[in-house]
């Protein structure tokens, strides 16, 4: 079973994604900030991170670099309410990008694609 880390500071969004992914048969761990996510990455075996970035501070960007340095095998999908172009300009070289208002079908597609399912 593939394990996904859902990192978002909005409770409701986290709940929705968790429910969605569990229903699809993924293992899901939630966290609300980068520090917590870091610990989880160290302790658990994570296949993919769904990483929310908050504009304009975009602290998600630094964390993304950390993941790439220390957890190269972990795929990262950056998610945000901002448009894909804006996300790409803020976080470079993520595996994929997701605009939250695009809906759950697209999210699932991107996740399955990243995990080569």
């Amino acid at each position: 079973m593939k394990r996904i880390l859902v990192c978002d500071d909005d409770n409701k969004i986290r709940e929705i994604y968790t429910r969605l992914l569990v229903l699809e048969g993924f293992g899901v761990i939630q966290c609300a900030n980068a520090d917590h996510a870091n610990e989880i990455l160290k302790d658990s075996d994570i296949d993919l991170v769904l990483l929310d970035i908050k504009m304009p501070e975009a602290d998600g960007s630094e964390f993304h670099d950390v993941i790439r340095l220390f957890h190269r095998e972990v795929k990262v999908i950056v998610s945000s309410v901002y448009s894909l172009e804006e996300q790409k300009s803020l976080v470079k070289d993520a595996f994929d990008y997701y605009d939250k208002s695009q809906g759950t079908d697209i999210l699932l597609e991107k996740i399955k694609n990243a995990l080569e399912i």
């Binding site: 500071d9 909005d10 409770n11 409701k12 969004i13 929705i16 994604y17 429910r19 969605l20 229903l23 609300a32 900030n33 504009m55 501070e57 309410v81 901002y82 939250k100 208002s101 809906g103 759950t104 079908d105």
Partner: protein, 455 residues
């Protein structure tokens, strides 16, 4: 050049002035030349008549000699105005005219006369002369033709030059004034290039006269302010779009999951409630934004009435107590004595205060305390709401009134805020001509003071 232009007016004035100066100067020169020429002329005549006098004194009988002194006209008459001796060139009417214009032989000093004769003008010096007890008048004259010719030439050249001078004046004037007014052209040109899309144009200030520096600086600063405003507006539009996208993401997520397969009624009811909540949340955000727009740009839409602040604040105090009791937060008040009246839009002033109160309750832990105070300060009224809550970090203090600013610490809020509460509070204070000041210490608490002038 159009008539209604500074360039035209200044150039005309300059050209006329230039020409007047030329004419005046030319006249002055002309008259000094006039005087000099006549002076020299008279001086010559005087010298010649003295010479004549001297030679006459040497001879006992001057009737026997004919005297022709260069080209001068010489005439000697006795006390009866009868010619005694005349130069050859004094013919016909000329000698009569000379005699006619001669002064009385009783004169003591020399006298100058101008004689017009034979279509010529002569300047004649008349000197009294005594010889052998008899009084005579010595007349020596010279044609003024050369002098007149020179003077006429001078005037002619001056007059003929005037149109040239005028033209040069116009050209010079136009040139200098155009140069001086060039910055005005630059400003107009730059202004043409500014659109709401490109506010980057500025006018260079290097080689500009001081009078324009001020104008150009003001102009450049104005464009910078406009640029900032437009940036602000475009950033704001961006914020709004994103604010509304989160509730949409939630609605979409919940409904899509629910629709994937058959769910229980409770699940459907839950999902429908989420959609309702989120749409209400979006509606609130939109209404708050519209309110902000009205507060900032249409203050005339608000209804002001005479308000007794004591009554007003007491009402708010009572309601706050109820709201705060849920978290067991105590509420105290300290209102100045006496009735205080201001003109206020009650509904919105109430909203301002409840925004502050709700924040105080939200960010103060259980068993905390909220203090209301109201006092007069000179011609202003100071209403403040203090709490013993988590406080606001110093670096955030200047930002808290910004649109959409929210405290970053992830609190497990049941209702996320849209970050507009303090913005709205500030704008409401503004339409009352007031301001809001905040002081705060982390983990100690915050105080929001609303200051409104009494008039």
């Amino acid at each position: 050049m159009k008539i209604q232009s500074i360039k035209f007016k200044l150039t005309t004035v300059y050209a006329i002035f230039f020409t007047i100066v030329f004419v005046v100067y030319g006249s002055v020169l002309y008259f000094s030349l006039y005087r000099a020429l006549y002076k020299d002329f008279d001086y010559e005549l005087e010298a010649n008549v003295e010479k004549l006098k001297k030679s006459l004194n040497e001879f006992t009988d001057f009737q026997k000699r004919k005297w022709i002194v260069s080209t001068d006209y010489v005439n000697i008459i006795d006390s009866n105005k009868k010619p005694v001796l005349s130069s050859k060139n004094l013919r016909g009417n000329l000698v009569n005219d000379f005699i006619r214009k001669a002064p009385n032989s009783n004169i003591e000093k020399t006298v100058f006369r101008i004689i017009s004769s034979d279509r010529q003008r002569f300047r004649v010096i008349n000197m009294p002369f005594v010889k052998g007890g008899e009084k005579y008048i010595l007349q020596v004259g010279s044609s003024l033709k050369p002098v007149i010719k020179v003077l006429q030439k001078r005037i002619f050249y001056m007059v003929v030059s005037v149109p040239f001078v005028l033209t040069i004046g116009v050209l010079l004037g136009y040139f200098f004034i155009s140069r001086a007014l060039k910055p005005v052209e630059d400003i107009a040109q730059t202004a043409q290039n500014i659109t709401y899309e490109d506010l980057s144009a500025r006018i260079k200030i290097k080689l500009v006269d001081n009078e324009f520096k001020h104008l150009i600086n003001a102009f450049n600063e104005m464009i910078s302010r406009l640029e900032k405003s437009f940036k602000h507006i475009s950033e704001f539009s961006s914020y709004v779009a994103h604010e509304l996208k989160t509730p949409i993401a939630i609605i979409r997520g919940e409904t899509e999951i629910a629709l994937r397969k058959q769910r229980s009624s409770e699940e459907y009811i839950r999902v429908i409630n989420v959609c309702l909540e989120e749409s209400q949340r979006m509606l609130k955000t939109i209404e708050d934004l519209l309110l902000l727009a009205r507060l900032d740009f249409r203050p005339e839409l608000f209804k002001f009435e005479r308000t007794n602040l004591h009554e007003f604040m007491n009402e708010i105090y009572e309601q706050s107590k109820i709201l705060a009791s849920q978290k067991e937060i105590s509420v105290q008040r300290d209102f100045a004595d006496g009735d205080i009246f201001i003109d206020a839009d009650k509904i919105h002033l109430r909203r301002l205060l409840f925004n502050l109160v709700n924040n105080a309750i939200k960010f103060t832990p259980k068993n905390g305390r909220i203090d209301f105070s109201m006092k007069k300060e000179d011609d202003k009224i100071n209403i403040s709401v203090s709490d013993t809550g988590i406080g606001i970090p110093e670096e955030d203090l200047p930002k808290i009134f910004n649109r959409f600013f929210r405290i970053d610490r992830t609190r497990q809020n049941a209702e996320p805020s849209n970050g507009l509460g303090l913005s709205i509070a500030q704008s409401i204070a503004k339409i009352h001509n007031g301001t809001i000041h905040v002081t705060s210490h982390v983990d100690k608490g915050s105080t929001f003071a609303v200051i409104i002038p009494l008039k």
